[in-house]
């Protein structure tokens, strides 16, 4: 049995169908991502699974329990990080996580362990208002995990962070399911989903469009690989002589060759000693999004 089972979930705000017939299962210990642009219905879906909202229709079980109405047996077993930084005002990082630990009946030693694990020991005596965005997210993740829940929900933990802070946080996030914990994360960053998630549900306009591992989604796309030959070598290249090239176009970085047989193209380029400065791009989840929705992905 999966840690989370969702069947035919639906919720409308007035005329808007925020979530429109969503079904999926998350296995125990899995790192599951819900990926989509803003307004896709990710947060609403998550809030229904957490038990914050009552669905109009559909079935949800988390660890075999129904989250709605507020289920006291389930609450100690799940951890949540909400989209905003939900903190008590004017407490230090240590007091903050200490308060959450007490709410779950967990000792201060565990709070301290989590501060260390997310790298916040040095900032432990800083008030939350004075933390950077990345530090707030770390603290907020630690607060969600202080009682060692079996399932943890993270709603856009890297939103509004700069790229460096986002990558730093991936180290923390990536280790969360090491001990068999189930992690559900929403994000609108494609690269994040590719790096962190075992499986990804791509969501748009309240529906799940695709659901698989990031690798399988890209492979299933049958997208062309783009090989860019550097401008200095373009004059020495006769495109027509190379087998397997579907199309070619001159871009700012050089000549871009599209192919579905990258191995053959690369071999022939190597034989002609044209590999210097070469760039190879395979399909990404953005291409998957483009393929299923017919429009560019804009977070």
């Amino acid at each position: 049995m999966g840690a989370i089972e969702v069947r035919d979930l639906a919720l409308a705000y007035g005329e808007t169908r925020a979530v429109d017939g969503v079904s999926f299962e998350v296995a125990e210990g899995e790192f599951f991502g819900i990926l989509g642009p803003n307004g896709a219905g990710k947060t609403t879906t998550l809030e229904m699974i957490e038990g914050l909202r009552e669905p109009d229709a559909g079935e949800i079980t988390v660890l075999g329990e129904r989250p709605w109405p507020r289920n006291g047996a389930l609450l100690p077993r799940i951890g949540v990080q909400l989209q905003a930084s939900s903190f008590f005002e004017r407490l230090t990082a240590r007091e903050q996580i200490g308060t959450f630990a007490a709410l779950y009946g967990v000792g201060a030693d565990r709070a301290e362990e989590w501060l260390e694990r997310v790298g916040m020991v040095e900032k432990a005596d800083t008030r939350v208002e004075n933390l950077s965005g990345g530090q707030m997210q770390r603290l907020s993740i630690a607060c969600a995990l202080v009682h060692d829940p079996d399932v943890v929900f993270l709603d856009e933990p890297t939103a509004a962070l700069d790229p460096q802070a986002r990558r730093n946080l991936w180290d923390v996030l990536g280790s969360l399911n090491d001990s068999g914990r189930t992690v559900v994360l929403t994000t609108h960053y494609m690269d994040e989903a590719e790096v962190l998630c075992d499986r990804v549900a791509i969501m748009d306009r309240g529906r799940i469009l695709e659901l698989d591992s990031p690798g399988a989604l890209v492979r299933g796309l049958d997208a062309a690989t783009r090989i860019t030959v550097s401008p200095e070598l373009v004059s020495a290249l006769d495109v027509a002589a190379i087998g397997g090239v579907d199309s070619s176009a001159l871009g700012p970085d050089g000549l871009v060759l599209s192919t579905r047989e990258p191995a053959q193209v690369l071999t022939e380029l190597a034989e002609r000693r044209l590999l210097a400065g070469i760039k190879v791009q395979t399909g990404t989840l953005e291409d998957v999004f483009l393929a299923v929705t017919g429009r560019e992905y804009r977070p």
Binding site: G51, L52, L82, S86, F88, E89, E95, A102, L103, R127
Partner: protein, 362 residues
């Protein structure tokens, strides 16, 4: 199992309370508006206004006036309590001073006639001057006639001898202070916690709503009791406040009053979109109410319709109840009706706040 759960609830209650207290004492503007600001008013009303006697009437006496110079000892003392006398020999200059407002009255004697020059721009002073001087002239006439006066007048204040301004202003200002801190605190907490999604977060923690609300109420009541202790302590130590017999009955009254103003704060917090807006709205409700409920000055001089209307305001009931048991010397039972009314307000307003509350602010 049951005991463990209780222990954990108590732990959650305690840690929530500590978190709220820390949030309060670290917020300088909250502390200022709850404690320091009302105390400033107490010092102002209690210290400055009450020590200021009704100022004497400034009189210029021109030349010798037998009637005033030869007053019997008792009458002379009474006369000097009312008038501050300077002497002059120049009648024209004295009258000019009255005209300019530097003196209130200039008196001169023309044989057996006492002439008082006054200015009509100060009508109250003019009336006092005329009445007082006439009384002295009449008194002198009666004394000359040698007949005992047929009628006499005795005046008595209805209040206890010790009653001073501080006795009246302390309960009213305390009521206003508690109304402010309770309503601001509830408004800011409800709105701030909703906007930061902390309320949602706490909904998903294994903590009952009762524990959560209980912690917030306990902290607000504790702050109200601290305010009371500071007010009464400072009033007694610095300004001679003395409480009457049933004053402990003010404590349960204050607690119910605190709940009532927390409810008003909840309503403001539920309606407003931002925390600042919520606090402003609470202030918008409380400040005019403080004026109309006699927190800053007694309502005795207000028109009757206003006095009647003020009975619709919870703060009026809190102030009246506190005045009754703290300084008017009424029995503790005088607090019962105000407590019932405030409790009713608290329930009704909480009900309205619950109706208008929305999780989403957009």
């Amino acid at each position: 199992m049951t005991t463990r759960r209780n222990a954990s609830n108590l732990g959650a209650f305690w840690s929530l309370s500590v978190a709220i207290v820390r949030g309060f004492v670290r917020d300088r503007s909250s502390v200022f508006f709850a404690i320091v600001f009302p105390l400033m008013f107490l010092v102002l009303f209690g210290g400055v206004f009450s020590s200021q006697d009704q100022s004497k009437i400034e009189m210029i006496q021109v030349g010798e006036i037998a009637l005033l110079d030869d007053l019997p000892a008792g009458a002379a003392a009474a006369f000097e309590q009312t008038f501050d006398i300077t002497r002059s020999d120049d009648a024209a200059a004295a009258i000019a001073e009255v005209r300019k407002g530097d003196a209130d009255v200039a008196v001169e004697a023309r044989r057996d006639e006492l002439v008082a020059h006054y200015t009509q721009t100060e009508q109250v002073t003019a009336a006092i001057v005329q009445g007082t001087l006439r009384a002295f002239v009449d008194g002198a006439n009666v004394a000359l006639s040698g007949a005992p006066p047929a009628y006499s007048l005795r005046t008595e204040a209805v209040e206890d001898d010790s009653l001073e301004t501080i006795q009246f202003v302390t309960p009213g200002l305390l009521g206003w202070a508690i109304a402010m801190s309770a309503s601001f605190g509830a408004a800011a907490t409800l709105n701030g916690w909703r906007n930061s999604k902390l309320l949602r977060r706490l909904q998903l923690a294994p903590v009952s709503t009762g524990t959560l609300v209980g912690a917030r109420v306990a902290v607000t009541v504790a702050i109200a009791l601290v305010q009371t202790a500071i007010f009464l302590g400072l009033g007694a130590a610095a300004f001679g406040l003395s409480l009457t017999g049933a004053w402990p009955a003010a404590i349960p009254l204050l607690v119910v009053g605190t709940l009532c103003f927390m409810a008003i704060g909840l309503l403001a917090g539920a309606v407003a979109k931002t925390t600042e807006g919520a606090v402003n709205m609470a202030n918008f409700l409380v400040l005019p109410m403080a004026f109309l409920s006699g927190s800053f000055f007694p309502l005795d001089a207000a028109p009757t319709w206003l006095q009647t209307m003020s009975k619709l305001l919870p703060l009026r009931w809190l102030n009246d109840g506190m005045l009754d048991v703290m300084v008017r010397g009424e029995a503790w039972t005088a607090a019962l009706v105000p407590m019932a009314v405030l409790g009713g307000f608290a329930l009704a307003i909480t009900g309205i706040a619950a109706k208008v509350f929305r999780w989403e602010t957009t």
